[in-house]
Amino acid sequence: MSTEKQSLRRKLDRLFVPLTVGPTMLWIAGIIVYPTLKLLWSSVFWTNPIDGQKEFVGLRNFERLIFAEGGSGTVFGLAPDFVSITWHTFVYVGLSVSISFALGLGIALLLDKDLKGRGWFRTAVIVPWILPYVMSGLMWRWMFNSEYGAINGILTQSGLLSSKIAFFSDGTLAMMALVIADIWVFTPFIIIILLAGLQNVPEQLYDAAEVDGAGKVSRFVNVTYPFLKPSILVALTIRIIFDIRALDLVWVMTQGGPGKSTEVWASWLYRTAQVFNRPGEGAALGVVLLAVTFLIVAVLYRVFGESPY
């Protein structure tokens, strides 16, 4: 091979990595790095809603949202809205994720067994997840409707209730309706991820555990769980992120109401930035949301991040 060809080849070799990885890096920079920086940047500005002029305000957006400026209802110096909305978010995410996880794990374990009609059920179970969230929200809003809703219909016709309930007029019931809808929508996702994880457990380990005399619980703890951990990590991480930033279901079903009783971070953020036209505060909320999400993911990685091997 001539020296010229060799040097061209070397040049191409050097360019190979930048050429192949470069576009992906640019893409990541465009969809992750830039918006994140923009969010951080926006969170320290106040935008005049009339003329759009921006004014640097430092951390005042955070202060205004998180800390109370005197007045009644403050909790440890924190703003009442921040405290109550954080609590709603905690209840909404906590209940939805934990119940759908427990349900999803149970169903995944069932579907992993050699049951009749398993294939059909595996397909059917995905349906709620593939529906657009807005559609699911609309459907559940109708289901819980105080006049024509199916839930009220079933409860009154079966004699469990004497009169119909206005689910969306009571904060607790509205939150319950949201949680139920969320569980319905997202449990299939947990099932699919955990079912994939269950397929990774080597069958021989169950045999070995059986020969070793491990009972059902011991088999789950010592064989299934270590192999399921990576899937649990994926399922919980994605599930929690989805729920923390879940706007569709909340907005379509309750719009944060009645009052602010089902207002969660995502709907608060949307309302602040888009409805009240205060992008700076919205961005500040976004930063808080991002930080909390990071924290939760870090904890999840710590608990479930260990490979079975």
Binding site: L205, D207, G213, P226, Y309
Partner: protein, 376 residues
């Protein structure tokens, strides 16, 4: 220790009969090997003994008790799996302890047994490592260790060496032999590797199609196969089969017409083969029982042409074409100078000839040869 007895054992999976009515007595302290091709039912049989599958029919006895309805851990067995089946997230020590912990064994007993087994298998230095940090051979030792600490009545081993490289397999084979010598625990071993079967077993059970084709001491089964399947399965290269018509020559002696030539049948088989006169019979001869005849034409010497020469170190395998058109293999002296295309004369060792019924595959001379062996 315990003996194991299988009585008319059947296992069906939907429409497939994996184990088809096998009966076998596995003596106490013996090393019994189930050998056969893939899908012959040997692993299913082992899993039935282990309690990992439920028998459709028949009886399994371990010791004096019928164990059909007992769970695996109630059968006093320990199993070594093909892929070792070590718990990957546990250390070697934890792997070995696990079975004992499940049986609420006292801590001091667990520690003592793990230490003893680790010493026996020379894995003391590996106890704190995880399986992923071990080589295949070391993992295999740990799998054995996990079985040994249980001090079971029966060891069940499902192709435990098949994932090791050739050299390690030979080494582990020797160690398994030594281990059995030391522990004397009844062992049931499954393999598709006939060399493993021959070298390890006191008793070999050759399986095909869900049935035991023959049981016996390895050398006996090798030299006195009951049927063409056993004859062909054991031995590498496998036994040559030559089909011919049985007839009598002018002197009244039995001979096999194999096409362009004839093969004289030794007189001692007269009684067994008499009834096959005029019928097709298969002659079986192992490659190592064929030699190159240097003395010109004699009885049972067949002219042939060398087609392939495969030097294998301790022997040279020749693929030769008989004048009848059939190709057979001969394992000859490694110093042979024959080359491809050479014409040679093959001599079949008279004492090693086998005759089979081509329809049933059954050996026609099995009884007679077994008797000869006993008399000798």
């Amino acid at each position: 220790m315990a003996h194991v007895e299988l009585n008319d054992l059947v296992k069906e999976f939907d429409d497939v009969t994996a184990v088809d009515g096998i009966s076998l007595d596995i003596p106490d302290e013996s090393f019994t090997v189930f050998v056969g091709p893939s899908g012959c039912g040997k692993t299913t049989t082992l899993r039935l003994i282990a309690g990992l599958e439920r028998a459709t029919d028949g009886e399994i006895r371990i010791g004096d008790e019928v164990v059909n309805d007992r769970r695996a851990y109630e059968r006093d067995i320990a199993m070594v799996f093909q892929n070792y089946a070590l718990y990957p997230h546990k250390t070697v020590r934890e792997n070995m302890r696990f079975g004992l912990e499940q049986h609420d064994t006292p801590e001091d007993v667990i520690t003592e047994r793990v230490t003893e087994a680790a010493e026996l298998l020379q894995i003391q230095d590996l106890l704190e490592r995880k399986p992923s940090e071990l080589s295949g051979g070391q993992q295999q030792r740990v799998a054995l260790g996990r079985a040994i600490v249980r001090d079971p009545a029966v060891f069940l081993m499902d192709e435990p060496l098949s994932n090791l490289d050739a050299k390690l397999r030979v080494q582990m084979r020797a160690e398994l032999n030594k281990l059995h010598e030391e522990l004397s625990t009844t062992t049931v071993y499954v393999t598709h590797d006939q060399v493993e079967a021959m070298t390890l077993a006191d008793q070999i059970a050759v399986m095909d199609d869900g049935q035991i084709q023959q049981v016996g001491a390895p050398t006996h089964v090798y030299s006195n196969p009951r049927n063409m399947f056993v004859a062909g399965f054991l031995g590498s290269p496998s036994m040559n089969f030559i089909e011919g018509t049985l007839e009598r020559d002018s002197a009244g002696k039995l001979q096999l017409d194999i096409g362009t030539e004839t093969h004289d049948v030794p007189d001692e088989f007269d009684d067994e083969l008499e009834s096959y006169l005029g019928d097709e019979v298969v002659l079986g001869i192992r490659p190592e029982n064929i030699s190159l005849n240097q003395d010109g034409i004699a009885a049972n010497v067949h002219p042939a042409t060398v087609q392939v020469v495969e030097p294998q170190g301790e022997k040279t395998v020749l693929e030769v074409g008989l004048d009848t058109g059939q190709t057979i293999k001969a394992a000859v002296d490694p110093d042979t100078t024959v080359q491809m295309g050479d014409s040679v004369n093959l001599r079949f060792d008279r004492d090693s000839l086998q005759y089979f019924d081509p329809q049933t595959g059954e050996s026609l001379t099995y009884e007679s040869k077994s008797e000869q062996k006993l008399t000798a």
